[in-house]
Subunit: 498 residues, 2 copies
């Protein structure tokens, strides 16, 4: 709203005093938003780190950050081809040094630089570099066997920015607009809903069926919310799951799409772990592919299904979190809304160009026969096979702990075990005003330096307790980490017998 002042007319009404910006006067939605991945346990670890640096002797000599999917912080190496192309785009004059870069590195960098009007230092098209959006469209077309289009691709600073932008369009201020959200969920969704004044309408994943989606339960939540006046506008789906690590079957994807069509729900498909598939024989089915298989073309005029899919450079086998690269593909979203998405993007001018190029490199790596292919293949396979071994190692180890059960990590980078605490442990936690799982995670941190995230940060069925752990630490560290966790866990259980 543009408030018309009277530039020249002196108003003599004495002003109300302003408000200091403090904890009491800040936007209450900001205060209410919660993001456990960087919450109390991490805060505690930072405090312990300060004390350790100050010379205090702790029961461990280094921290193991299992709280966040941050592969390079866990010693995963970047991919050589990708980084060399980015370095050359950053400083094109490096090409003058002989034998510094393979020919396909130079070719790719030249191709990108040619399409960047002013190099990486210039604002790109707000929607993203055209040539990179074309690479993304080609990747999706090849992946799904259905056409994708560059004008439906928006390049973003990681997937998080795309999710927030879409929710900003979907949720109207002062309205009871809601989003069906899986529980447990990645807290970006709950926090963004709180910030935007939206309502989280939970649908509970079934731990008993390896975190599967129960359509009956989902429909009941939807109906119950609507019968209470909530305008449910969309559904978030995370596949492969975070924190749950499950992979949706093609049948489950189809059922969700069918429901979204019938109930006019926009699907937000968070598919950032699509390259992290560990279950033997399992494969990733994108919502886009299944929708097109069902004849839901999403072409202008066909908005039976409205689907927005998200991907990121941060996960997979790149693990390029710091570069903040990602994209969203819109499907069944008309030109009018695409224009609004473009306008929102233009308000930030553009996403960072290095992240945009990293996105292009992620989905268009060296091909067989190209000079960099063998190195690329080996680096990729080493990372993926090691992650797969670690996922099994963690799954097995967690299930050997007293009172702990853990579903197989079929995909993604996390295990989300259930822990059963004694009444005594729960009472101690309650006495400290902490959820049981947070008390447990803080204890494990104090004893081992391992940073976990309590299940309460993701949401869980009442009466159950969980924690999320990545399996990103390097394998040798992982062996030791598991041993120390097992020892601390046993001690915790003994110390809290009823």
């Amino acid at each position: 709203m543009f408030f018309r002042s009277l530039p020249r007319a002196a108003s003599r009404i004495s002003p109300a005093r302003g408000l200091r910006l403090d904890g009491a006067t800040i936007n209450p939605n900001v205060k209410a938003a919660q993001y456990a991945v960087r919450g109390n346990v991490l805060e505690r670890s930072m405090e312990l780190e300060r004390r350790m640096t100050a010379g205090e002797k702790l029961p461990f000599d280094k921290f193991v950050p299992c709280n966040i999917g941050n592969p390079h912080a866990c010693l995963q190496s970047p991919l050589s081809f990708h980084r060399e192309v980015l370095a050359l785009c950053m400083s094109p004059s490096l090409a003058k040094h002989p034998n510094t870069f393979k020919s396909d590195v130079v070719e790719r960098a030249n191709r990108y630089t040619a399409t960047l009007n002013g190099g990486v230092g210039a604002y790109s098209n707000s929607q993203g570099i055209q040539s990179v959006r074309e690479e993304v469209a080609a990747y999706i077309t090849e992946r799904d066997g259905h056409p994708a289009y560059a004008d439906r691709i928006f390049l973003t600073n990681g997937a998080s920015e795309g999710v927030r932008t879409l929710l900003t369009c979907l949720l109207r201020q002062g309205r009871a607009d809601g989003l069906l959200t899986p529980i447990p969920q990645y807290p970006l969704y709950s926090a963004s809903l709180t910030l935007l004044g939206g309502t989280l309408v939970p649908y509970y994943l079934n731990e008993g069926s390896n975190w599967g989606v129960e359509m009956q339960n989902l429909r009941e939540s939807l109906e119950f919310a609507r019968s209470n006046g909530i305008e449910v506008r969309g559904i978030a789906v995370i596949n492969p799951g975070n924190p749950t690590g499950n992979i949706l079957s093609e049948d489950q994807v189809r059922e969700i799409i069918q429901t979204a069509v019938e109930e006019k729900l926009v699907i937000l498909a968070d598919e950032v772990y699509q390259a992290n598939i560990w279950k033997k024989g399992a494969s990733f089915s994108s919502f886009k592919k299944v929708a097109c298989d069902m004849g839901l073309t999403g072409k202008d005029g066909d908005d039976r299904l409205q689907l927005v899919s998200f991907h990121s450079t941060s996960k997979g086998f790149l693990g390029e979190c710091g570069l903040r690269g990602g994209y969203m593909e819109v499907h069944g979203i008309g030109p009018e809304v695409r224009a609004e998405l473009y306008k929102l993007a233009s308000l930030s001018l553009c996403s960072n160009t290095v992240g945009q190029l990293a996105t292009g490199l992620m989905i268009n790596p060296p091909r067989e026969g190209e000079p960099s292919y063998e190195t690329y293949r080996k680096e990729r396979d080493d990372i993926l096979s090691s992650l797969e071994r670690r996922s099994r190692m963690v799954h097995k180890a967690l299930n050997e702990l007293e009172g702990v059960t853990c579903n197989e990590a079929e995909g993604a980078l996390y295990a989300f075990p259930r822990i059963r605490l004694s009444k005594r442990a729960k009472d101690v936690a309650e006495g400290k005003g902490l959820p049981g799982d947070e008390y447990y995670c803080l204890k494990m941190l104090d004893e081992t330096g391992i940073i976990l995230v309590p299940g309460s940060g993701f949401g869980q069925e009442d009466g159950t307790l969980h924690f999320r752990t990545t399996f990103l630490p390097a394998e040798d560290i992982m062996h030791d980490t598991i041993k120390r966790l097992a020892k601390a866990h046993a001690a915790f259980m003994d110390a809290h017998r009823d």
Copy 2:
């Protein structure tokens, strides 16, 4: 809000149907937001470009993008030292090639890499890389002669993200919260206010005194807004000015601070053009410096003045727009609110690490005596002296146009001339449903390929018309551009005589 479903209880109330996401059902704040820098005139230029590419003959053979401060797209070169450090951080193994990098490039890259736990590919601290925040604090301390602190610095994806984050904290949903905003203004402010449901309370800059701030007028707007129930919570100041190109005197800065203290207004000081000073003898006085000179320390416990200052890698003489680097410094903002700012930052995990490092390089360039200093100094001085020449060239040329007057561009990268159109021209515009200045800019585009932004996109006193132009095109192009604009302008005036 977390909506409690009844996971197992089947509710039998038939659901309301959902809503398609379209132009009618999208968040109306999104639809209402306007961002002219990439508005109709740019859209038109894209259409013309498509037609030109398709072989159509236009009155010009290339476009001159004067609509946006995007230096590298106007052939400004990046700084060698900065880019080489970033390239080396991107691909550290390049250091093994002899004679590729100067020693201080290697030293800086090693220092950064050592402080990055996992390199540029890892998420950094959500507030920003500690060592870079320390560099920023040292820069501010040196610039102002008053201490700055790393824990008060937040690194952001450009300055725009910082402004939006701060406004998100300041503006409460469903409340009539307002922000005093200069008119004319950079439309990030008006658009963000619209998006967040805030109210723009305008204070008009005085074109007659080279776009100076009139305190009397500012206080009247404030009182008038408050007497109409608007809770005015802050004031935005852009210094040097965008689009106006003025520099605030230290007295003006002091007066604004005094008013902000008395009226409890948070100052948002947009200082992204602090290195773009063209007026002989003029100098930039940061709000932080003047505040500290006035004894407003901003230390915890002293929140008499609440000030948030913004800077960016996009302007100055770096012009690194695409890297999306920037910072905000908070002053007089207590730990509780800083914790909320940290939480908001953590929701996006971190700003892009390359932009963070570019920010460190911007404010901590090579020093005299270091191997890269001479090259750095020459590159910097060439860019700045050329920009200064171009600012005078444009100012002189614009004032020679019939019906056009233009204040001196004392700083920043823009001229904002006033144009006086004949009644006939205004009638033609009105007949096309266009503001007079937009009609003029579209005509200039069609005739010359020069992309300008109508003053209506920034706000202007009723009855006045302006446009904004950058003076970024390279000098030879600029000469030709001015000639062609003068010719097209004269033709426009002749064609629209009353």
